[in-house]
Symmetry: C2
DNA sequence: TCCCAAATCTGAAACGTTACAGATTGAAAG
DNA sequence: CTTTCAATCTGTAACGTTTCAGATTTGGGA
């Protein structure tokens, strides 16, 4: 049934198949509209038009429940369409309307965080599953200009909406998309005085709770392993950390030179260095699971023990931390949910929905899992 | 410059923008071909045709280096195209030729393995970066029919080629795609007497080497934590394991009821159970990093110690295992490379290249990283 | 001088869809 | 018995591209 279809898709079979394709148009006799020829290959509006005896316009409208089509006709057309498994040709729609039915997820391919990308993709997929949207992944390297992939998608119109992460307080990608009226949603918030679709994890709250937890354990000198300072959530996390430090009357031991973006080796080394010093932290707040692996390793390199000499509170997106060291206090960040929300947001943005409804903030939950997970 | 473009993409702006779009056709005067109107919005072939004074056909051919175009014209057209940033409209090409310039990665959204998906996507992206291909992710749930997403892509022609994983020895998706002449590449091999594009990690070799390593450590009773038995690489891994067991004169302690697909909790529990028995294994071969986390936890639940009571050899795609327990012997599987190779393979398949050149097997390398990683 | 072939170039048609501007009904209103 | 109007339906054109079947020019050979 779909032979032509697959043929048409397989380039090396082009010449063989495009020849006898729809040979209703014999060069001598002019086209007779009433005989649209036997349907072959994938059904189109023309196929249905032929089967129902209607015009393609009518069929097109009937399928999208236009009001000017009789109820009987509408039902008849839709029935046949379902029967023969009609699917609108995406290229046709896209060419005609400019609507691509595609969401582009723009990804940093240097991303360290294991599982982050999988989860966000699964979440997006879940939200897109019942819609006509497809998900396309547009990668870029952190070394290059992050604006470039955005510009590419906007300029070539290869998607109807964009999802970005690694959002900055003053984000030029956001500015660009706003200026071009292009729908998008950001993972993380901005601080540009502009309202736009976004989803974020409440890192302020997380860091504050983490500090309080450590304070309640009697820890006094805390260190924060934070994201790079250009990212929005650096500030949230840092503010939550600082506020709670002040609130609890603790002191901060700054970690210089490494962030969540650094390699495990670098973090491990830096941690070991720090933990061998006189005035070392007795508590860590960590922004990501994989970095916490390095934190633990570095701490133990220095001969110290988690839970005894130092406590760690860490975010995680997978559930591995309490297997690494059961003493770690792990807070789950549901990245799959983030993906889901981001997809909903960007679709809402495309549909022109009210922006207020497209901004969500995920709370850390009461998930300070204790020694047993 | 791209205002029209973005407008055309943003559905809620349609009506506003399709009106004054290219108003060269005034209803009274017939079209004068020589005045193609001022180019606005995204440049098309028509734009270039107007600028050069050539026909669109000529421009189209000039851009693809057709031989029947004069060298001077060709250069002139290409120069202008570059100048004004011409990009062929994907929908136009796709509608006309049937070529989508899209590769579909079909993903099981139940996937446990953290980082696996990210890496394979990064690898694919890398291979696609310099081409005109886009990557689209087509998800499915393991509970549903795995053929369904494949059928969807083939029937709707939403991609030129497909990449699948979780390949089975007798894989109905492979059969389906072959029957429909649809280009694809599989992550993992089949055993159907059909030759097709694929990439695989040599799990036979991995398991055999793992067993020999454990044997060299004096371990005698080995257990294999294997993939589910329907997958191809189950057999490879199991055969390598069994052959080396025989070769070294060791015995196998079978693990029943859990596979790499099972949750960490399940594996952990099962492992603990097993390790409390009289005749427990003194060596593990594990097929994935995250499962090894569970293996370690379960072993320690039973009061045993890695490196003393039992040794573990495990594959990993991230580098976390030696941070978990430095005693683990980890073998790296480069999933990013797998993605890269798969993308190359499927593109080769689309281009009709010789299949022999599209089959690659990645060797485990000499990477039996010792206690220090 | 004429003709033919090669070298360049060209318009028309088509891919499948939707928007526009009617066309065709039947029935209600005058 | 018209006229009008709403309710349905329809053909044409257009989106941007490539293919087909020429058209035009040039130059060489006779």
């Amino acid at each position: 049934m779909y032979e032509i279809e697959t043929g048409a898709i397989c380039p090396h079979a082009h010449h063989a198949l495009t020849g006898p394709h729809m040979d209703e148009h014999t060069p001598d006799t002019p086209v007779d509209e009433t005989e649209a020829g036997p349907d072959q290959g994938r059904p189109t509006l023309k196929t249905i038009a032929f089967m129902t005896g209607l015009g393609v316009t009518t069929v097109s409208r009937a399928l999208k429940d236009a009001p000017e089509i009789g109820a009987a006709t509408r039902k008849r057309v839709q029935m046949i369409a379902r029967q023969i498994g009609y699917r609108p040709n995406r290229a046709g729609v896209r060419l005609r309307t400019g609507k691509t039915n595609v969401i582009s997820l723009i990804l940093d391919t240097e991303e360290q965080v294991g599982g982050f990308v999988s989860d966000i993709i699964y979440g997006i997929s879940e939200a897109l599953a019942k819609t006509s949207y497809h998900l396309i992944v547009t990668p870029y390297s952190r070394n290059n200009d992050p604006l470039e992939p955005v510009r590419y998608v906007v300029e070539t119109g290869s998607a109807d909406g964009i999802i970005i992460s690694r959002t900055e307080p003053d984000d030029k990608r956001v500015r660009y998309m706003i200026e071009h009226g292009f729908p998008f949603a950001t993972h993380g918030r901005t601080d540009m005085g502009i309202s736009h679709a976004s989803h974020d994890f409440d890192n302020y709250e997380y860091a504050a709770q983490a500090v309080r937890k450590l304070a309640s354990l009697g820890r006094r000198r805390l260190a924060l392993l934070a994201p790079p300072s250009n990212l929005s959530y650096y500030h949230h996390m840092r503010d939550g950390f600082a506020d709670a430090i002040a609130e609890c009357g603790l002191t901060e031991i700054p970690i210089n030179g490494v962030t969540l973006d650094h390699s495990i080796q670098e973090v491990r080394q830096k941690t070991a260095q720090m933990m061998r010093r006189e005035l070392r932290p007795d508590g860590f707040v960590s922004g990501s699971g994989s970095s916490t692996f390095a934190l633990v390793a570095g701490t133990e390199d220095a001969g110290l023990e988690i839970g005894r000499d130092v406590d760690i509170v860490s975010k995680q997106s997978s559930k591995l931390l309490h297997l690494l060291r059961p003493q770690i206090f792990a807070v789950d960040e549901n990245v799959r949910l983030a993906g889901f929300e981001l997809a909903r947001s960007v679709m809402g943005s495309i549909a022109g929905k009210d922006i207020a409804s497209l901004q969500t903030l995920s709370k850390p939950g009461d998930a300070f899992q204790d020694k047993q997970g």
